[in-house]
Point group: C2
Chain length 428, copies 2
């Protein structure tokens, strides 16, 4: 239909897919652009890194969501910038003209300009990165198993030292899951002395998990330490050459594995979209989620900086923010199409869903209002873990229209052994 408006959405993450699904029901034409052909359930990426889940279990073919919507076209490509004047999105496969554009491009790893760390450590933001990390961790045990001679002790220990940088949810969850993977390896690597295996979690601030209260922070640290993780607070990384990690206290940790979970920033091209960005490269959006000065370009999710309505700091880079913003943008786009002006659009208000993080199987912390559970609470231990499971299962299973896949996934989550422990990297 010639009079259909064309909405272009960049990014098939939580925000982009939700928005496309909502708009698909309307009389508009939608092009969803992503550099991958799958939607990724990012909160569980650490489970791919630690061989709990396989890649296919948290990555869903994006086209599958829209098979019944002929007005949605998926475009596999990498956005490279926006020309707001000509109203075109630039990609590595040419330009795409839009009537309305929504930037929902997510985030990438922030190494805060430390090039030696960026070059030599393992990031955890993409599926490929998670799989590379998984292969690497398993490979380190294989390498150590061959270096049994006492003369190789230093080299062997370097293989068996694992350092995680960042005490946010990702770092905490990674540390817990890694300790569990090591328990499985204990049974299988007969020639390794597991007293030599060492997992360290470094946090530059005075505590972990900034989004939960101090008692839950301390609880998290206690649980990790009981599991054998060497948690070090107020400790930052200064340099890493792939062999020796230098800390700000002068210490040097010999290790082949530095896992970087210390920060995120927007994708590079966001700064080339013609709008002002913050220090993390995110677009500072208006209250109606429009990009300042535009009447047709919106930004949502991890690539947007939203701080209105008395917020002390910008909204966090979590899925509920992206999906709620998507709903608001859908309303606002339909309002613009109906003839409203930008100043007449609805303002976004975030409904806080609370924060939660697992610390391995059976242990978690949660805090804040829990609309999905129906009450406000603070919890820890097994109950919190169970609630975490529940929320994540509901969300993930909901992605899969096919019932059998949901069941399979739930089954796997509860009972699954780690069958994904395969090294896919090239042989050395």
């Amino acid at each position: 239909m010639a009079d259909q408006k064309h909405v272009v959405i960049v990014g098939a993450g939580f925000g982009g897919v939700r928005l496309a699904k909502e708009l698909a029901k309307e009389n508009v034409r939608i092009t969803l652009v992503d550099r991958h052909n799958y939607h990724l359930f990012q909160p569980l990426l650490y489970q791919v890194s630690t061989a709990v889940l396989s890649a296919g279990e948290i990555a869903y073919p994006t086209r599958e969501f829209f098979k019944n919507y002929k007005n949605v076209e998926f475009f596999l490509g990498k956005a490279t910038g926006v020309d707001q004047e000509r109203r075109v999105l630039m990609t590595n496969h040419g330009e795409i003209a839009y009537d309305y554009l929504v930037l929902a491009a997510g985030a990438t790893t922030n190494f805060f300009g430390n090039e030696s760390v960026a070059r030599n450590s393992y990031a955890m933001k993409t599926l490929q990165e998670a799989m590379t990390l998984r292969s690497h961790i398993i490979h380190e045990f294989e390498r150590a198993s061959k270096k049994t001679s006492p003369s190789l002790t230093e080299e062997r220990r370097r293989h068996l030292n694992f350092v995680i940088v960042g005490g946010g949810a990702t770092g905490i969850e990674m540390a817990g899951a890694l300790m569990e993977l090591i328990q499985i390896f204990k049974k299988e690597f007969h020639s390794i002395n597991f007293d030599e295996v060492h997992v360290t979690l470094l946090e530059a601030m005075g505590s972990v998990l900034p989004m939960v209260p101090p008692d839950l922070q301390q609880y998290t640290i206690d649980v990790l330490r009981k599991k054998g993780v060497d948690v070090r607070l107020n400790t930052a990384v200064t340099e890493y050459d792939g062999n020796d990690l230098k800390l700000n206290n002068g210490e040097v940790v010999p290790t082949k594995t530095v896992i970087w979970a210390a920060g995120v920033r927007a994708q590079d091209f966001i700064k080339d979209c013609g709008s002002k960005v913050d220090r993390a490269g995110r677009i500072i959006v208006e209250e109606n989620l429009l990009v300042p000065g535009s009447d047709c370009v919106f930004a949502i999710g991890d690539c947007a900086n939203f701080q209105h309505g008395g917020l002390e700091r910008p909204l966090p880079t979590v899925a509920p923010v992206a999906t709620q913003e998507a709903m608001q943008v859908k309303e606002n786009i339909m309002a613009l199409i109906a003839g409203k002006t930008p100043d007449q659009l609805g303002k976004f208000v975030y409904k806080d869903l609370g924060a939660m993080a697992t610390i391995g199987k059976g242990e978690a912390v949660m805090n804040g209002p829990m609309p999905l559970l129906g009450f406000t609470m603070k919890a820890k231990g097994f109950f919190a873990w169970f609630a975490w499971m529940f929320v994540h299962l509901i969300r993930l299973a909901g992605k899969y229209s096919d019932f059998t896949v949901s069941v399979k996934w739930i089954w796997n989550f509860f009972f699954g052994t780690r069958v994904s422990r395969i090294i896919l990297s090239k042989m050395e």
Copy 2:
């Protein structure tokens, strides 16, 4: 124990793993060498290529099999040769001395010396190859979906032309599974005209599936043609530059995808093991599976050429041959340790388990004695498919000691949608 004999096994395929499992119960020390850290259920590799199964579902961590056997050590490494005089196996991680050596190194793709084909076509013998092929097939549809303009018709058709070379079980199964994948794509690629999608199966001989009788061969061809596969017999490939496939009848097929399933040969290092090899690089073994002239080196499975007891041709490169040979070698090694001489060893006799191949879901052919089913038969259609399923499920589920994994796998096989349709290759 100092008096334990050291058995080194090269290859953790069907033969190698079976042998290691059997020997693990004896008073010997075993080192199992493989260049991958997983055992691969190769007969279902084509299901990874066509996104039915994910990699982790047919690849099992080898160490897991032996976690309760401290006398089995796994060694991740690539065998490079054997010095029979010094009794050492050479690997890319140093030498391993043996008392007994068993070569069970499997097979690799045979391009019969055609370098242009080897360089530009897709092989299907390793997990990595299967995943690369899967990503490529999906990517070709993504590429075609962007080239909708009439001026790009030639280019678009090249993306949508898929050629499979080889009418053996692998080629047939790949063709059937690919047609099913295309049915799924029909719903998702709204901008592709599926009349332009074309799957061709080339076979140099006068029929497909040489191991079944002529009526089943014809049935297989009929079923494939009904599914839309362009089956061409007596047609061989002469050259392929990655864009145009040249056939021996002078025809040129424009295609970006040539899947090579036309032959196998032994790994290269087998010829450097100090024994005579056949044209496919396989060691011509004695009746007791010893390598000629040796009293401690055996060869089994796809890297061995066994032709004794009145066989018209060497035993086929299938799993039952490898596992049965493994059982014989286990007996023979224990006999040698007990003081017997090579001429006193048991001779191998193959119990034919028949042949079967699927032609997509619900269609298969089978022929020969079926000890597992208890009778001799020839069958086709749904019944044959069901029998194929049964046999493969029993075998695969049997690999997994963990019950939940077996159930999950069976569930997936019967009901699974294709969730593994993700492109993992680098963006172009």
